[in-house]
Symmetry: D2
């Protein structure tokens, strides 16, 4: 959490929370792919109060990596075996999406705290089941990885909104935009990812709900395969726009694109009755500006990992802090369900070509 805060906050945390007398939270991570490795390294080296004790993966090379690079002694191919044998306080799920729900429920039932990457479940039924199990284990921390809430700029924006700086927020515009060079690679993942709305916009949906404090009522989605026709063939799109209304009449415009050339461009704008906040409109790589034959320019971040590296660290720290302090996280199982529900409604709206009204 150091990364995003001034000295005062840092000092406050030191004084209040990370008392060395607390014993570390023993964590087992599941899944060591690209994002899993990052989470593992954070938990191993950067998160105070965490002890990354075990790792689980069906890929032997990933376990070897955990042993040699991170020094994790206990590695497992079988999730159930890890649950039974490793003496863990918490599970950190970065496994494939289809495993999140069942692995979450198993860990909760064993009395463990759970962090799960999004999506919480791959369909609404799964999500509801997880919600129920979470409800039955009210003393355990259940945390869905909506990392953008923990990015220093997003959390600062929320703070400003809560302080009334822009009055009552009523409109969110949010987008997730990836570099075109990754697009072709994504075509094969459409069947498992669920398509562009579930793949890209789950965070935007969560942010819109969070900033507006309301639930989605209708979605109306449009889009097309403007650059890569391959997406059309799998009934998906490479650029989409969704106009969403909320129960109290508020609105959101949620966009996704797989075809940017300047960088990964994930930004959000919140309009309120007294002002507007814009977060990350130019996704600058850093504070360097270049003035040359191309004009006055800034290079941009390449991907979600580069953009949200601070957020990944902060959310993991917050997960551990919630456990140590007996607090509830700001992201609940209901948030996980809602994001999935709305993502499916968007997909339906796009495929059916009409407005969908949520229950």
């Amino acid at each position: 959490m150091l990364v995003d805060t001034g000295w005062q906050t840092f000092n406050k945390r030191l004084q209040k929370k990370w008392s060395i007398s607390m014993s570390a939270v023993k964590i087992g991570i599941v899944g060591l792919g690209r994002l899993g490795k990052r989470h593992a390294a954070n938990l191993r080296f950067r998160v105070q109060g965490a002890e990354l004790k075990a790792a689980c993966s069906i890929v032997p090379e990933e376990l070897e990596w955990a042993r040699t690079e991170l020094g994790i002694a206990e590695t497992y191919i079988d999730y159930d075996e890890m649950l039974n044998e490793a003496k863990l306080d918490a599970i950190f799920l970065v496994s494939s999406s289809s495993m999140h729900a069942v692995q979450s429920m198993k860990a909760l039932s064993k009395g463990l705290h759970v962090f799960t990457e999004k999506p919480m479940g791959v369909n609404l039924e799964e999500c509801k089941k997880v919600e129920n199990v979470v409800g039955e284990h009210g003393d355990q921390v259940f945390f869905v990885g909506f990392v953008r809430r923990f990015d220093p700029s997003y959390s600062y924006a929320k703070k400003l909104i809560d302080e009334g700086v822009i009055g009552e927020p009523f409109l969110v515009r949010s987008q997730t935009v990836d570099l075109d060079e990754y697009a072709e690679f994504q075509v094969d993942f459409v069947p498992s990812s669920g398509g562009i709305f579930l793949d890209c916009n789950v965070h935007d949906i969560d942010l819109a709900r969070w900033f507006l404090g309301s639930e989605v009522k209708t979605v109306y989605a449009k889009g097309g395969s403007y650059v890569h026709k391959a997406f059309e063939e799998v009934n998906d799109a490479d650029n989409t726009i969704v106009l969403t209304t909320f129960e109290d009449g508020k609105m959101a415009v949620i966009a996704a694109s797989r075809t940017a050339f300047h960088g990964h461009d994930t930004h959000t704008e919140i309009t309120g009755s007294k002002g507007i906040l814009k977060i990350g409109m130019t996704p600058a790589k850093n504070r360097v500006e270049i003035f040359d034959v191309h004009g006055a320019r800034q290079e941009c971040v390449n991907d979600f990992f580069e953009r949200f590296q601070e957020g990944f660290l902060i959310e993991a720290q917050e997960f551990v802090d919630c456990i140590l302090e007996g607090r509830k996280p700001i992201v609940s199982a209901i948030d996980g369900t809602k994001a999935t529900e709305v993502g499916f409604a968007m997909t339906d709206s796009f495929k059916q070509g009409r407005e969908i009204v949520l229950d």
Copy 2:
């Protein structure tokens, strides 16, 4: 180092460096004031390969903080005692400026690696002595805390320059500007800090030398107490400008101010034969823009600590990595001497009202 890098870099470091088989570097920190606490927390919780084993301070409360908040068992009031009793690999000096040189030399003589906050010494003689001792211990890492070199934007700019993006650099403009609210508080420190040039511009001098790859030949300093007359009374200033030339005819304009209202504004511009790089021209607190009755605006960082929190972490990691890998750091004792030498020449120029030519 995670903080500033994309996944590729992170992965590379994991694979190459932080092999878990290496034993951690045992470190003793000296000085636990505001900056010392931050360094201590980084070393304790965030720097891979580091074990913060001991702490030394003449302030009992600071040692109590180290014991209870960081869990440091070995605390010392006496520096020599720590050197003799704690089994350390390295010393991390965040003590008062007047102690840096002598403590550095003692540790080096004991065979320890040394990180010292700037300044390396409070006068040129001290610096030269340290340089000599460093020379006699060529196998030990000696690292001067020019933190701005390790800020992700500054190091990225250096990389672009080395790649030739702006051709041959010939002009640096760099400034260190503090919030006005801290100004009155600084008046009392002028005698010990050495005044505005040594206090504020040491980093700018180091950056100019680093980016231009040349040594300062002449300095011509002007300034005044435009807002706080108290500085004039101690023969100092609250705003200054120095025009500097280098041995090969290159130039730098180095500015300092204690009277900003928008934030801590430390920025640097490098002009080359093919383009210009600007680093941090607007010292934005984060990626949030506010649109309200005051216009379209960004809030700014408050102080050096907030601006360079990533740099403090990265330089500490780099210090440890240099030890583990047997590498020389990019900041040497000579850099420490030069910055001090030029800072004194600037002060002389300002006080004497004339150009000073360095030997």
Copy 3:
């Protein structure tokens, strides 16, 4: 046209077009309200090749203003009288919206060139009639005042698109946003203006059609009275979003707001297959940045008049140039019809709460 162009363009125009041997275009202006006065002053003092010969208004004070301030000798209360008596080449309509169509047709029938402020007609039938009359007078210039096309930044963006800088454009996001302080004043005008979509978004519709080169197929409009409930009472809104699709599958998101606090914020973004153009994202008043207790900030333009003062001059010059050179303008009667048609469809969609498919 000087205002927006470098010396080369200026020189080219001088050499090619404004040959002094051409006789000036004799113009009669109709309507001298706020915008009418501005157009009149431009035609009188700034537009080359124009002679503002007559003025017509039903407000005697406005005619007095024309006589004393602009030196217009011939002033009329009756439009028909001006058409018959003044020896004019062209009519410039800045009258109330309900008069545009009938006055346009009368002037065309008299053999005069016509500039009409938007809207071309207050309903689709009127527009179609005007289109027909324009068709019957193919040698006369008919020009609809879509001023944003003539703003230097918008026309530069069009040039970049035509040059292929962003590949094939497929998505436009455009908005018209007014200061909140004018909102209450607008409530009374809803019945005559036709509401927020016709009042604010006609330019955005025109821009989307222009940049995408396609016609609107569906509109889906949402909105609400989030700040000023008075709009709801007249079945209008103070903030709206429309998701629009085009015949070839392209899209546009068109937004309107009457409740900004930072300034008049009219901006447009065009996404193509190779890049994105953004026009005027921060509606800065000028090139001044202020760094003070409010942060790093720019003041913004207050209203449409301040933002598009160059555009108003350039479009008037272009109207006159088209006459002098026998060219067709880039805005046709069809553009006027389409913008009105889509504006009504948006209004219907908003009021009926459903997608509207255009014929």
Copy 4:
């Protein structure tokens, strides 16, 4: 003046000043080179209250241009002949620099108002003579073309300063930077232009004096031929920095460069006791941003003409308004003298390698 102002200002001017009853100011222009043509076209077509009645040039083609493109009937090769024969109210000097002083004095002596492009004279003696003659003709308007004072952003900054927005200003940083592509072309002009300080920085000097309200006391100039060695051979430079102090201890840093690749980059920063104003830090060509493989970027203005096209129009209008209203301009003969005096002192300082103290 329309260009830079909102409707309110425009309306105010219309009501107060340009009463049609005033007879137009009859103007003769001298010099129709690149800048002369621009001034001539403005006076002919855009400046209210001006009648461009005669033109003088030693280049027959330029006079032909004036006749055919601008319709100026009276053209002269001989300046004295124009003074004697044309019935003029005012002279507008855009002739070569060496002629400004003598032509100014002749026109003043004939009872004419005079606008002269900078420099007012090519040496201090000439300037003093002009000052004297101006003093003897106190009822005539004498106007030196410091166009940057009339740029909308610069004049807005002055207004903010006068309103106290940044408290008491004490430091100006100002630069004039040209595109590298024009550099080689400039080498031949060094003897007649007087070198980089007189050629580029005269405006910056004027701005520093204007914003600070004080006179230059010392100058200390450094620089070099970092890109084009040809400048060194004529004892000039392609990049320079001057540190300047003023009589009341205020400061300015004035920079010049002939070697930019991004555009003509003329910007100015004013620091005061309560805040900072920055004018034109990124010399954007317009409001368009491009997001593509080069990052997030803005194209920049190419040259002084493109950057200050509004200023050239506004200053000409102001010259005419001063005549019509019997007002003194904000730029006086003393301003012309001072800028030249300081420019020479800078040149001396650079050539002699030492600080120069002005009398």
